[in-house]
Amino acid sequence: MLPVILAVLGALFLLAPILVVVPMSFSTAISFAFPPPGYWLGYYAKYFTSEEWLEPTLNSLVIAFGAMTLTMLLVVPAAFGYVRYRFRGKTLVNLLIMAPLIVPHVVSALAYYGFLGRAKLTGTLLGVMVAHGMLAVPVAFLVISATLKGFDQNLERAAMSSGAGPFRTFVHVTLPVLRPGMLVGALFAFLSSFNEAVVSIFIGGRGAVTLPKKMYESIRLESDPVIAVVSTLLVSAVVLGVLIAMSLRRRSTHAA
């Protein structure tokens, strides 16, 4: 029984602080007072009407989408090349692909600050997109190469021997089987960019303020209560996402 009690306490430690942001978002207080002195929806109205918060939200979505696209364009062919072929220097290639995961984000952030600053790309959506795209490579690669390793190549051989060309085989056999893995890889890349804070803080400047950067600045400089609204919306999105993922997983394990 003791392990269960300890586990539940651990889970409460994880959960309770996150849930605190929900009542905070309805609070009338102008600072971070908890429990709230009163409740209203005023800060929700402020979030949905103020440019100051909507723009970073939009920026984050655009950057995450761009970074995800860039990452997928690089990672999908790379995973095929890496998993299906043997070649010299494979260890080195693996190290290169994993490098953005190994290097601490604050070091990468400093690097992009200097490098993109030289290229006049700090403070632009493109700059942050490229940096996030690189940082998302390892995660997407891990997911997609794992899917590819589990792929039974006999399916392709069967298609080829039945007369399908390499292209038709790829489109009608390989891709459909790999689609779930690819989608998960893309989702991870998207979220890796959407949640990324350090690089955005360093290189976002005034022109490419992402949501985490805006939250960081609002905590540091002004204590804007709208941050509770944003946090609550983000937590709700995560809860929804996790519940959907769990129910999908349950359905697939039941089917199997």
Binding site: V4, V75, Y82, F194, I219
Partner: protein
């Protein structure tokens, strides 16, 4: 002779196909490798360069880091804080992962849901939550008042708050690493131990615990390494008096515009991280960490 000829032809054909297969592999890998070299390795190399050339060619920055007490303290503090956070994550995370892995049904599903939720919730949301909880108008301060303990001590902007925040944020990583290792442990080992007369506590200590050690090592490494370079939480919850490396980098850039020195600090952080990973790689192989 005919056989020999066809053998040679076959060999030639495989050699040609082998070469073209090589070319295909490199064609597929070229875009990502090129992009990573140009848009990741080169920027990092630029940091290395700046650390010894800005404002002039010298290794003075590195000498300062390792001789000026203020900076050596930052290094030691980062190391010690990371160790404490790792230990806390392990202590809190182990029973959580244990129950998730060993229990079937709704308890483990519920715990897994909680862990996944906190894993995907952004660092800033969770750091903000701690600002509310530990703040002077927060629930902890209110509890102090309600219990008649007088005014609450200053909890925020201290080593305590930043350690607590980082533990909270990194705990899911630890739990998932432990869970992955524990899930692989064959339940029959424990049944065998029990049938041989081992009590549950002994079976746990002699069988389960040793088999879960790979997860302990993986999780600890992940948490420790992330903690070394952790930025957002120490900056927002910590204190400049007990700085961590990332706070020092931020301060050097934001307040002093000292790129050369900030770069040198970053390089030290990078080397420390790589050293820890290299030790792990030597004993276990990095593939196990990603896998």
């Amino acid at each position: 002779m005919a056989g020999e000829l066809s053998g040679a032809a076959l060999r030639r054909e495989t050699a040609v196909r082998g070469a073209s297969r090589h070319a295909t592999a490199w064609l597929l890998l070229a875009p990502s490798c090129l992009a990573l070299v140009l848009l990741f390795v080169v920027p990092i190399a630029y940091v290395l360069l700046l650390s010894v050339t800005d404002p002039r060619l010298s290794v003075a920055h590195y000498q300062r880091i390792f001789t000026v007490p203020v900076y050596t303290r930052v290094m030691v503090n980062t190391f010690v804080t990371s160790l404490i956070v790792t230990a806390l994550c392990l202590v809190i995370g182990y029973p959580l992962a244990y129950v998730m892995a060993r229990r079937a049904g709704w308890v483990s599903t519920l715990l897994l849901t909680v862990v996944a939720m906190s894993f995907w919730t952004g660092f800033l949301v969770r750091t903000y939550a701690w600002l509310v909880i530990l703040g002077s108008k927060g629930p902890v301060a209110a509890a102090y008042g309600a219990l008649g303990l007088g005014p609450a001590p200053q909890l925020l902007f201290s080593t305590f708050s930043s350690t607590l925040g980082m533990t909270h944020i990194l705990l899911p990583y630890m739990v998932l690493a432990l869970y992955a290792a524990m899930k692989k442990i064959d339940a029959n080992h424990l049944k065998a131990a029990a049938s041989l007369g081992a009590r549950p506590a002994a079976a746990f200590r002699e069988v389960f615990l040793p088999l879960s050690l790979p997860g302990v090592v993986n999780g600890s490494l992940l948490v420790f390494v992330t903690c070394l370079g952790f930025f957002v939480t120490p900056v927002l919850l910590g204190t400049p008096r007990d700085m961590m490396i990332s706070q020092l980098i931020n301060q050097q850039i934001e307040e002093l515009l000292a790129f050369g020195f900030a770069s040198a600090v970053a390089v030290v952080l990078l080397i420390a991280t790589c050293a820890v990973l290299a030790i792990y790689n030597h004993y276990a192989g990095l593939d196990r960490l990603w896998g």
